[in-house]
């Protein structure tokens, strides 16, 4: 049972109506733990940056609201998963990597080794020159070629 309902206005923004009748145009769903627990702890933020609702679990929501939030998140969240590293321009940074990602092939520029962040379970989070984050869920599960390249940067 949700204490709010979501609609989308013609300007394409999410409008949130709370149980007490207050309406917030232009609300943004934000994940509290985007990496550790993406489906737990979501907040709806108002345009002014205040929290207007807390969702403990995405699965607690009814289908309509949930679909609305997931649609909005899908348009905002961009963290391509690297499936394969095809080639790197050099083993010294800055280095241009051409990669196969879950969102198609692309090239990214790694500014320094410190832009590779280690996650639990052999995961890696790589930030490119423009701040786009690329995820490697489990580097041990990658193919040999990619692993060999990665090793040189770790």
């Amino acid at each position: 049972m949700s204490t709010f309902s979501l609609t989308r206005n013609p300007a394409g923004r999410l409008v949130c109506t709370l149980a007490d009748g207050t309406v917030h145009a232009n609300t943004t769903p934000v994940r509290a733990f985007p990496l550790a627990a993406p489906d737990e702890g979501l907040a709806l933020m108002s345009q002014e940056g205040h929290e207007i609702a807390w969702i403990a679990r995405l699965s607690d929501l009814d289908a309509a609201n949930r679909a609305m939030i997931e649609e909005e998140l899908a348009g905002r969240e961009f963290m391509p998963e690297i499936q394969r590293i095809t080639d790197v321009s050099s083993f010294a940074t800055p280095s241009t990597w051409s990669v196969q990602t879950s969102r198609g092939p692309t090239a990214l520029v790694l500014k320094g080794e410190e832009d590779i962040r280690r996650l639990p379970d052999n995961g890696l989070l790589i930030a490119d020159r423009h701040g786009v984050l690329y995820l490697i869920p489990d580097r041990k599960a990658m193919d040999r070629h990619s692993r060999k390249i990665l090793e040189r940067f770790l």
């Binding site: 206005n9 013609p10 300007a11 394409g12 940056g49 899908a74 348009g75 905002r76 969240e77 961009f78 963290m79 391509p80 080639d87 790197v88 321009s89 050099s90 083993f91 010294a92 940074t93 800055p94 280095s95 241009t96 051409s98 990602t101 969102r103 198609g104 092939p105 692309t106 090239a107 520029v109 320094g112 080794e113 410190e114 930030a127 490119d128 020159r129 423009h130 701040g131 786009v132 984050l133 090793e151 040189r152 770790l154």
Partner: protein
């Protein structure tokens, strides 16, 4: 070229191979920016050219393009937005359908970005409430083009709506920083500096820069090494005639030739003595050179490091930097002055020995040299493994240092939360990883040296067998075989030491890479190539359309502010509203990502950093005192200050009296974090420090928030002296401390929301009013609590 240099190149071209280059057809913002505005299609890939030509015409010329690199589902794909004189057209993906909107009143392009992706929306508000017509996405790489598209769109739309054509001329401004460009200047000198080219893999060769000043000493060392090793080659040669002309004839019944034997003995002794003297001089010279190269490397790296921006230090860990400057420079200089020379000598010595062997007995020489290719191949095989291995060991080692550098300064927190054991475990874990890495490498390494020894023994055996057979055939003499056996011992020792250079070079190469990582890093707050002189400034500051992005987070947006000379500005806002960032931008600790900061009308990026900072005094929340006397700390910004100046500054900062109460007065030592002084006392020293350089611009970043109210009053008195007649920007959490401010600037989420004095802002009952009320309430509650 210097012989050592030649050997160096030879070795390195073999070890490293050629840097692998990747040719990705990339379309960078730099390209976009560099193309003149009049030929908007020039920079488009060919595949788009025909499309663009089809969709534009003479009466509807192309104005701007934006190449999209994402589609609406956020997959990488190429799309395009075209702005022509009459319409906006867009296509998603290479085979999507074109959409077209004619320019008319009510249309607007909006953009925003989040987590590295930009969103561009076409909105229509012609029928009241805005309706979204289309959304496009791109990575921030295309941000500059997007901004330009919006700018052009707004202008063109205004022209269409008002019925007058857009003026043809245009002041060419850099789309990122809004700095005006000179006519004909295609690239904004301020923006085109992002380092994109990776440093070459020929890193080690670049060390020549450090070895060059000592090239004559190094050459002398090399020649001495050569000579002393040459001297060691004489004894085996002498054993040959000693055997054949003295010992064997004697055994065959001839009388002992004492004089000949004595001569050979003297030769042996002489050779040993010469080798000893030469080796002595050589070691001395090389040790000296080694120390000097090390010093140069360290100081150069440190000097460069000091010039880097705060952004760099923010992203690096202290332990890692300390390790680089400490251990790795050491390793490099040992490599340069010892290992490399040894290697060069080894190569020459092997050649010399081979020549001697061939001149004595070609067939036996051939057999002796047989294991050489095998050992060469082994070196080749092992070197790859070792290189990556050593690089990783270095990184793991830096991790070990990092744990120390993290924990020791934070020891109070560790103890307060009783986490000593956890920190010990963390250290253990880092050490375990270091151990595991070393174990893995040692597996390869340990098998290497014994194998070389084994090959040596086998080689020796082969020479014995072949030598005995030749003597039996009468093709050789006992003397020749003895000489060969003596040579071969030295020969393989050389090979062994050559194999050792494999590891030395790999280590040095990885160290070099890490040192050059620092040296190659171009400060994100660069010195201008031709700095403009900064005359005596009045302290007028103007911020134009300033934006700042930290990583992918936009911290300051579209900020405009003019500050008059001598004015005191109070910056107010919640924490995280961008106050400190703004101050950092004004100090030029960071450079704006958009817009400009000007002092007296001069862009601060166009003057030398030191010239500019001389005009800025900074008082921070946590005053940092360096290890040294109080006088030295006060004079930090002006080391040549006289004692009178120091005392005057301390007086003005209300620090004089407490300093005199210290046992050694101005000569008292203060520690790393200023131990022994209270927060208020340290703060007053830092105020004196700022006063002494007599800056035109003064920045107070929460200067009084770390102390209690009584102390604050003391500091406030000191500050009042400091502020006098200077342009002051003060950040304060306690709004009461900003009463003296001429204007208060209220910030919220990176933007200025209100400007005015206390009374005016209170009357408006806006952001400031709410902040003030909230604080009054807290004070009242505290007071109540105290009373009860």
């Amino acid at each position: 070229m210097h012989p050592m240099g030649a050997a160096f190149v030879w070795w390195w071209s073999r070890i490293l191979g050629h840097p692998k280059r990747l040719n990705i057809k990339r379309f960078t913002t730099a390209h976009l920016m560099s193309s003149p505005l009049t030929s908007s299609t020039q920079h488009l890939p060919d595949s788009w050219q025909t499309e663009v030509a089809m969709r534009t015409s003479d009466g509807d010329a192309l104005l701007a393009t934006l190449e999209l690199d994402l589609d609406s589902t956020l997959r990488f794909s190429r799309g395009l937005i075209l702005l022509s004189e009459r319409s906006l057209q867009a296509r998603e993906g290479e085979d999507g359908a074109w959409q077209r909107w004619d320019l008319r009143a009510g249309l607007a392009l909006q953009h925003h970005d989040h987590a590295g992706i930009g969103t561009l929306e076409l909105m229509d508000s012609s029928s009241g409430a805005p309706v979204r017509l289309a959304t496009w996405r791109y990575t921030l790489e295309q941000n500059v083009a997007a901004l330009r598209l919006i700018e052009k769109f707004d202008k063109q739309l205004e022209g269409v709506v008002n019925g007058r054509p857009q003026e043809a001329e245009e002041v060419v401004a850099c789309p990122t920083c809004k700095a005006l460009l000179e006519p004909g200047q295609e690239e904004c000198p301020i923006c085109t500096r992002e380092l994109q080219t990776p440093p070459s893999t020929w890193t080690l060769f670049r060390l020549w820069r450090f070895a060059r000043p000592y090239r004559w000493q190094l050459l002398a060392g090399f020649l001495l090494t050569l000579a002393s090793t040459g001297a060691t080659l004489i004894p085996p040669y002498l054993t040959m005639p000693l055997m054949d002309e003295v010992l064997i004839p004697f055994q065959n019944g001839k009388p002992m030739n004492w004089s000949l034997a004595g001569m050979y003995m003297a030769g042996l002794l002489g050779a040993a003595a010469v080798a000893w003297v030469l080796g002595w001089i050589r070691t001395y010279i090389l040790a000296r050179v080694s120390e000097r190269i090390g010093r140069d490397l360290r100081t150069t790296t440190y000097r460069h490091l000091m010039g880097l921006s705060l952004e760099y230090f923010g992203g690096k860990r202290t332990g890692d930097l300390i390790a680089r400057i400490g251990n790795e420079t050491d390793r490099i200089n040992i490599f340069l002055s010892l290992d490399l020379l040894n290697f060069a000598t080894d190569v020459l010595m092997i050649t010399m020995t081979a020549v001697i062997l061939f001149s004595i007995n070609p067939w036996l020489a051939l057999v002796t040299l047989l294991p050489l290719p095998i050992i060469g191949w082994m070196i080749h095989f092992v070197r790859e493994k070792l290189r990556t291995g050593f690089e990783r060991i270095d990184r793991v080692w830096a991790e070990v240092t990092n744990v120390l550098a993290d924990t020791i300064p934070g020891i109070r927190v560790v103890k307060a939360f009783a986490q000593e054991k956890r920190e010990a475990d963390r250290f253990l874990e880092a050490n375990q990883r270091n151990l595991a890495m070393n174990d893995r490498l040692n597996k390869t390494w340990s098998v290497f040296t014994p194998t070389v020894t084994l090959l040596t023994e086998i080689g020796l055996l082969v020479v014995w067998v072949f030598g005995i057979w030749q003597i039996a055939q009468g093709d050789s003499t006992v003397g020749v075989l003895t000489a060969f056996l003596a040579y071969i011992g030295r020969f393989y020792t050389r090979l062994d030491s050559m194999s050792r250079i494999v590891s030395a070079t790999q280590r040095a190469a990885s160290s070099t890479k890490r040192i050059f990582d620092i040296l190659d890093h171009i400060s994100s707050v660069p010195e201008p190539a031709r700095p403009r002189p900064l005359p005596q400034v009045t302290g007028q500051i103007s911020l134009r359309d300033v934006g700042f992005r930290y990583g992918n987070r936009s911290v300051i947006r579209n900020l405009d502010l003019d500050i008059q000379p001598g004015e005191m500005i109070g910056l107010v806002g919640h924490s995280g509203s961008g106050k400190s960032t703004l101050v950092n931008l004004i100090c030029r600790f960071y450079d704006v990502t958009q817009g400009s900061v000007k002092i007296d009308g001069v862009d601060i990026r166009s003057v030398a950093i030191a010239d500019y900072r001389r005009n800025v005094g900074l008082v921070l929340q946590e005053p940092f005192l360096f290890f040294g006397t109080i006088a030295e700390n006060i004079a930090y910004g002006k080391p040549d200050a006289t004692r009178e100046e120091i005392v005057a500054a301390a007086r003005a900062a209300h620090a004089h009296e407490f300093i005199l109460r210290l046992p050694q007065g101005y000569d008292s030592l203060v520690g790393e974090r200023g131990q022994g002084l209270s927060g208020g006392e340290r703060q007053r020293i830092s105020i004196a420090r700022a006063l002494l350089i007599n800056p035109r611009i003064l920045i107070l970043d929460e200067a009084t928030s770390a102390v209690d109210t009584e102390t604050e009053k003391e500091i406030q008195k000191a500050l009042d002296n400091l502020v006098l007649g200077r342009t002051t920007i003060a950040i304060a959490h306690r709004l009461s401390t900003l009463r003296k401010a001429d204007r208060l600037v209220v910030m919220d989420r990176g933007e200025i929301v209100e400007i005015g004095n206390h009374d005016a802002l209170m009357a408006r009952e806006g952001h400031y009013y709410r902040l003030y009320q909230a604080q009054q309430r807290t004070h009242a509650e505290l007071a109540d609590g105290d009373a009860a």
